[in-house]
């Protein structure tokens, strides 16, 4: 058990170091996130009531798209330089190593994303209930996005056609979007949001249990 924990943290540390050394890969999807959010006021006008209603939805949809873009690189270099091959032939379960990589992705991409999203929410003067609901749903939802995304990335890695990944991921992301937005809308009118949060938490548990296994299986298939 200690041995497994050790290797988990070795891989996590490795990926964190790599992420911080390659800052462009880290920052570009976050920049994309901010720029796309700015597009909406430009399209709908700065002080329209409509925009206020849409803000939290815009943040969530943009978060989905940005996650989609950032995930593309999660396994690419490891696949090209043979690290995945070495992982899959090591004595440790590939599932464990892959989980460490997914956690590293969540830490380096989603945590900054959540911070930026909250900041945007405050700047665009969302109500405090809405912002806290936005925070909780992003906190519960983004790990699922990384986990489900990892499966599809593993399946599509190195295949021609960059759009393929988005085609596969986005339908799978829809329930997360729906539950999160329902929670945020309920929170905005002061209703309880526990039901939606339980659902999100349930999906998160399911994804944590199954997604690393599926990702590892997909990577093994791609190696053959």
């Amino acid at each position: 058990m200690r041995e497994y924990l050790n290797i988990f943290f070795v891989i996590l540390r490795r990926d964190l170091i790599l992420a911080f050394r390659n800052k462009a890969e880290l920052i570009n999807p976050l920049m994309f996130f901010v720029i796309v959010i700015v597009l909406f006021p430009l399209a709908f006008g700065s002080d329209s009531a409509l925009l206020k209603q849409l803000t939290s939805g815009i943040i969530w949809v943009t978060a989905l798209l940005a996650t989609c873009l950032s995930l593309e690189t999660i396994f690419r270099s490891d696949f090209e330089d043979g690290s995945i091959e070495q992982f899959s032939l090591s004595r440790y379960p590939l599932t464990l190593l892959v989980s460490a990589k997914i956690l590293a992705h969540w830490m380096t991409f989603s945590i900054p994303l959540i911070v930026i999203a909250l900041f945007t929410g405050i700047v665009l003067s969302l109500s405090s209930q809405t912002i806290s609901a936005l925070f909780i749903t992003l906190l519960l939802g983004t790990p699922v996005l990384s986990l489900i995304g990892a499966i599809t990335v593993a399946l599509t890695i190195g295949l021609r056609g960059g759009m393929l990944l988005s085609l596969l991921i986005l339908p799978l992301y829809m329930p997360i979007l729906i539950f999160s937005m329902l929670a945020i809308q309920n929170a905005a009118v002061g209703q309880s949001i526990t039901a939606e949060l339980y659902f999100l938490a349930g999906i998160l548990v399911l994804a944590i249990t199954l997604a690393p296994i599926a990702t590892a299986a997909a990577l093994r298939i791609r190696l053959s």
């Binding site: 499966i151 399946l155 295949l159 596969l168 799978l172 729906i178 299986a217």
Partner: protein
């Protein structure tokens, strides 16, 4: 876990290839009979609905195709899973061949839903829970097909597709439930006349015939598709070379 021997024998492509020709013909005959009975019963014998008039008759296409769209996805995921675990080629072939048929049924369900919606709701498209789930299901199918066509190696494609289908099958109930919840919150439950339980017997029997017809149609097209897939898979096997040679077919 080991499978019994007879499953592997049935799963052997050569055995299946011989059996499937015979099977697909008989199933096709059953299919035609059911179609004729179902269509005649549904379009001619069944009385017009007291509210919807004749437009309800599109249900004889819409309902079976909606059922089939989900059913075929399940077949795809289960067959894919079997192929993934026990490496049975035939299961991979079944999964791969099912996808386009399933996508077609899903598309058919959407189109017929829209056609039915025009006189009922006044617009082609309403964000009704069922239609929305069906639309997402179509996306899942298209994703699967896109993934299949991106690979060169058929076996790798089949196994990658199996994982995607299994992920999809875990997701489908979640999608369905979330969409249901979402649509009731946004516009109140849409009352669909189609799932009124007290359907009259003279309307129900043709529907059952149509369901059977669609099912047998799926089986026979699946068999035909699978046969040609098998030949591609096994083009190195001696029995395929013999078969092609004896029929004077050039590769």
């Amino acid at each position: 876990m080991k499978l019994p021997r007879w499953i592997h024998q049935f799963g052997s492509p050569k055995y299946f290839y011989e059996l499937s020709l015979w099977l697909s013909r008989w199933v096709a005959i059953v299919c035609v009979i059911c179609f004729v009975c179902g269509l005649y019963g549904g379009l001619v014998l069944a009385p017009a609905d007291y509210q919807q008039g004749d437009s309800f008759r599109i249900m004889y296409i819409h309902v079976p195709s909606a059922w089939m769209s989900l059913f075929i996805y399940m077949v795809m995921a289960v067959a894919g899973g079997i192929g993934l675990i026990w490496r049975i080629k035939l299961a991979e072939i079944v999964a791969r061949s099912s996808a386009p048929i399933g996508a077609s049924f899903t598309f058919l369900a959407l189109v017929t839903g829209a056609i039915w919606g025009k006189p009922m709701w006044g617009t082609w498209w309403v964000w009704d829970a069922r239609l929305t789930s069906e639309l997402i299901l179509l996306f899942l199918y298209l994703g699967y097909i896109a993934l299949q066509s991106a690979f060169e190696d058929r076996r790798v494609a089949a196994r990658a597709g199996a994982i995607l289908a299994l992920v999809g099958i875990v997701n489908i109930p979640i999608i369905h439930y979330s969409v249901e919840w979402w649509s009731t919150l946004h516009q109140g439950p849409t009352i669909t006349k189609m799932d009124k339980p007290s359907i009259h017997l003279s309307m129900l029997i043709p529907l059952l015939f149509m369901v059977l017809a669609f099912k047998t149609f799926f089986i026979s097209t699946l068999l035909i598709r699978a046969r040609s897939e098998i030949l591609e898979y096994e083009c190195n096997a001696s029995w395929v070379k013999q078969l092609l040679g004896s029929n004077n077919v050039t590769k």
